[in-house]
């Protein structure tokens, strides 16, 4: 499969050994030109030395993610690649418009299905797909929430396949993580390559915590009269994203609370402090719905807050993201997102979905079963890339085993063509070589919508691999959105577009 390489022009992607020399004078895509010039002028061992420095830096900063079930040392460094992924100003502007449009539609959809259900009555989305969805939360029916905004923080995973082809791979509307890597990666790059930042105009990302705090404050509940008190609710130190929770709370200057720090009296949520109980108005919760309130959801949850859902329904606290957003990012709903954009906004989607076969539809099922070796088949309630079949990478036996699962329960699956994910130059053992990447920008929805330029680029470090998950050998890169001369990218916390 020929992948689109984001640095090099030219028909074929070079093999690793050639790439360094071949791209020297010629064929570098415009966004990478300044970087490449700088790279060519640098001494040969520079990258290797900087990578060592980067490793030390990350260990010192304590940026680790937890991997459980492997025994031994549970803290690991997520691999960081020191070659930036670069996006042109013009490319980003289009993406940003598309992201805002998509998230606006997702929020409208969530409000609709928990209230009027117009999209179901119009027959745009099959009713049972929503109402019988495991991620649909009946308790949220007719609950009024601030600004009718459900997903205040959305992470939209994008992939690129060609110069002008970006696709949304999936939406994350529950508790998307990874933004701390975006911020720390930039911090590390600025420490490692100060001279480079002097030469290339990179749009800053450091104001994300500020934008997030503003978004949260704007989402205060109806019954909040004073300046809202915001806190971040974490499942605790054993959560794999705990580092990020600490980091964001620190950056925003808000309390990082665990379930045990909170208590509910008369439908009002308080935190326990050295000076007594203090009221909380907005909770940026990084805890799944199931664990939130043992009185309403899982009774065995030890990390939740008994009574918080009643406080939520009473309009005394905002939970961010709202309860029940999972139904918007379920894989069975994904194929309908472009229809949501048309239905709620009356616009054509700017960002396309990956063409998707919905196996509950007989035609799609037939096609899929005939083309299994070419397709990626995903379980609709799975996540993390475990319950899936990657046709081109699977043996005949594996394909046949999966075929049986599909035939037994077609509605549990969707299928997509194997995409030729774009590659970016990446510093690996053998030098600089192309590796597949994706991109997760973060979209904030408060009084206005805010998108910090770029996002988190994940990279599959193994040659040929398309799996970018950090649990499966993926790493991250700093993502640069270049600034152009006409309009400096929106860096103020206010709205744009």
């Amino acid at each position: 499969m020929t992948a689109f390489d984001e640095m090099d022009l030219g028909p074929a992607t070079q093999s690793q050994s050639q790439s360094q020399t071949q791209s020297q004078g010629q064929g570098v895509r415009a966004p990478y030109r300044d970087y490449k010039r700088w790279l060519d002028a640098a001494p040969g061992d520079m990258l290797a030395r900087r990578r060592q420095e980067a490793d030390l830096l990350f260990r010192r900063l304590g940026i680790t993610f937890a991997v459980y079930g492997e025994g031994g040392d549970t803290e690991r460094l997520i691999p960081f690649d020191i070659v930036p992924r670069i996006i042109a100003a013009k490319e980003w502007k289009r993406l940003r418009r598309g992201l805002k449009q998509r998230v606006k539609a997702l929020n409208a959809f969530l409000d609709d299905i928990y209230h009027k259900r117009e999209i179901l009555r119009a027959g745009t989305i099959p009713e049972d797909l929503i109402l019988r969805n495991a991620a649909y939360v009946n308790h949220m029916r007719d609950v009024t929430i601030a600004r009718q905004t459900y997903t205040h923080i959305a992470g939209i995973d994008l992939v690129r396949t060609a110069e002008n082809e970006f696709y949304v791979l999936e939406d994350n509307c529950r508790t998307p993580s990874g933004v701390s890597y975006m911020l720390e990666n930039r911090e590390a790059m600025m420490r490692l390559f100060p001279d480079l930042f002097a030469q290339v105009r990179v749009a800053p990302v450091g104001h994300y915590p500020d934008a997030l705090l503003q978004t949260l404050r704007e989402s205060a509940p109806p019954n909040c009269e004073d300046e809202p008190t915001v806190a971040l609710l974490t499942p605790g130190v054993y959560n794999s994203a705990y580092f990020e929770h600490v980091f964001l709370a620190e950056q925003m200057g808000i309390e990082l609370v665990e379930g045990g720090d909170l208590t509910v009296k008369d439908d009002i949520v308080y935190m326990r402090t050295v000076g007594g109980l203090k009221r909380v108005d907005v909770l940026y919760r990084r805890l799944d719905d199931d664990f939130l309130d043992p009185r309403v959801f899982r009774k065995d949850s030890m990390i939740g807050v008994p009574g918080i859902f009643a406080a939520y329904k009473a309009g005394n606290i905002t939970l961010s993201n709202a309860v029940g957003t999972g139904v918007a990012d379920d894989k069975s709903i994904y194929p309908y997102v472009p229809d949501m954009v048309r239905f709620y906004l009356g616009e054509e989607p700017i960002l396309a979905n990956v063409p998707t076969y919905v196996l509950r539809r007989p035609d799609d099922l037939k096609y899929t079963l005939e083309h299994l070796p070419e397709l990626v088949v995903k379980e609709v309630h799975g996540s993390g890339g475990y319950g899936m079949l990657v046709g081109p990478k699977s043996s005949t036996a594996e394909i046949e085993a999966f075929r049986a699962k599909i035939v037994a329960k077609p509605e549990a699956y969707i299928a997509q063509p194997t995409l030729a994910l774009s590659t970016c130059p990446t510093f690996v053992e053998s030098g600089i070589a192309p590796r597949h990447v994706d991109l997760r920008p973060f979209v904030l929805s408060g009084e206005t919508m805010r998108v910090v330029p770029g996002g988190l680029t994940r990279v599959a470090l193994r040659e040929g691999s398309l799996v970018v998950n950090s649990s499966q050998g993926g790493g991250t890169k700093d993502t640069w959105v270049l600034e152009d001369d006409e309009t400096p990218d929106n860096i103020a916390a206010g709205g744009d577009d």
Partner: protein
């Protein structure tokens, strides 16, 4: 600030201070064992170190004689000894990690770097490289952490609870060192004023960085009474009980003012400070230094419990 955060930060500094105290105790034991002109058996120093650290019983459970190597291994490296330097730095770093939102990144980086480097030490390595290098390293890392916190942190409640942790732990350590050296190892009357005495008390002073200070203040040979006065009653010596309690009280009074609550711990600390302010060393010796120190150690434990009840336990 959250009750849980106050608890974590308080213990963060207690752990770091405890690691430093342990290094001081081991350093002085090591020094004494090299100039063993005293009459006791060769293991006296190491047994005293175990007693001061409050680890004599847990060490005994491990079995084996209290040799230099065994005691240093147990007090510095044993991961299952909750008071070992290893365990203290690990626990301190864990607390700091949980509290990254409350401390400066410099303070976090300092304790994190200390823990990462701690993992590279082992009894075999420090035996080969020299024990003192390691003890000095621990002391320096602790001082560096405190210094970084002092130099970067906002003077908020987070900082105040960290200071409380340092001060309670330090008071406890000073009282124990003095008590054990005086009570357990008090040489027979014939030795008083002799060479043994000089080295014993000199080492004690060194263990709390007070050798030179003693000379400057007293301009006299080293006498138990004056050493005790320095460590218990002098307000200008930073590791003395008086100095520790003066700061503890001022922090607790500040908290009482800012939250306008009646905290029993504040009254307890104030009464302890009053004693330290007005007691005289002669009368303390008449009543018995050991009894006096035991009383302080017990009150200090009670104060720690009262602080926990007032500030750290869920309302």
């Amino acid at each position: 600030m959250l009750s849980r955060a106050a608890d974590n930060l308080y213990w963060l500094n207690r752990y770091v201070e405890r690691a430093e105290s342990m290094a001081r105790i081991l350093g002085v034991a090591h020094r004494m064992s090299m100039q063993s002109t005293h009459g006791g058996t060769r293991n006296d120093e190491w047994e005293a170190a175990l007693i001061i650290a409050g680890c004599d019983k847990s060490f005994a459970l491990h079995g084996g004689p209290a040799t230099r190597r065994a005691v240093i291994d147990f007090l510095a490296f044993a991961p299952d000894n909750p008071s070992s330097i290893h365990a203290c730095l690990k626990a301190g770093r864990e607390n700091a990690r949980a509290m990254r939102a409350q401390i400066t990144s410099e303070a976090w980086e300092s304790i994190n770097a200390a823990w990462l480097e701690m993992r590279t030490f082992s009894i075999a390595k420090v035996e080969a490289d020299g024990f003192n290098t390691f003890f000095d390293w621990v002391r320096e890392r602790s001082q560096l952490f405190r210094g970084v916190a002092e130099g970067t942190m906002q003077r908020d409640d987070a900082y105040r609870f960290m200071r409380l942790g340092t001060l309670l732990e330090r008071a406890d350590s000073t009282a124990r060192i003095l008590d054990v050296k005086y009570h357990v190892l008090l040489p027979s009357a014939a030795d008083i004023g002799g060479a043994v005495d000089y080295y014993q008390w000199g080492a004690l002073l060194r263990s709390v960085s007070a050798f030179r200070i003693y000379r400057q203040i007293y301009r006299d040979s080293i006498r138990p009474l004056k050493v005790a006065e320095l460590l218990v009653l002098r307000e200008d010596f930073p590791r003395s009980l008086h100095a520790c309690f003066a700061e503890i009280v001022s922090i607790l009074q500040y908290l009482r003012e800012s939250y306008r609550r009646d905290y029993p711990s504040v009254r307890l600390a104030e009464s302890m400070l009053l004693k330290l302010r007005y007691d005289q060393i002669d009368t303390i010796f008449t009543g018995g230094l050991h009894e006096y120190l035991t009383n302080i150690i017990d009150s200090n434990i009670e104060l720690g419990a009262a602080i926990a009840r007032d500030f750290m336990q869920p309302n």
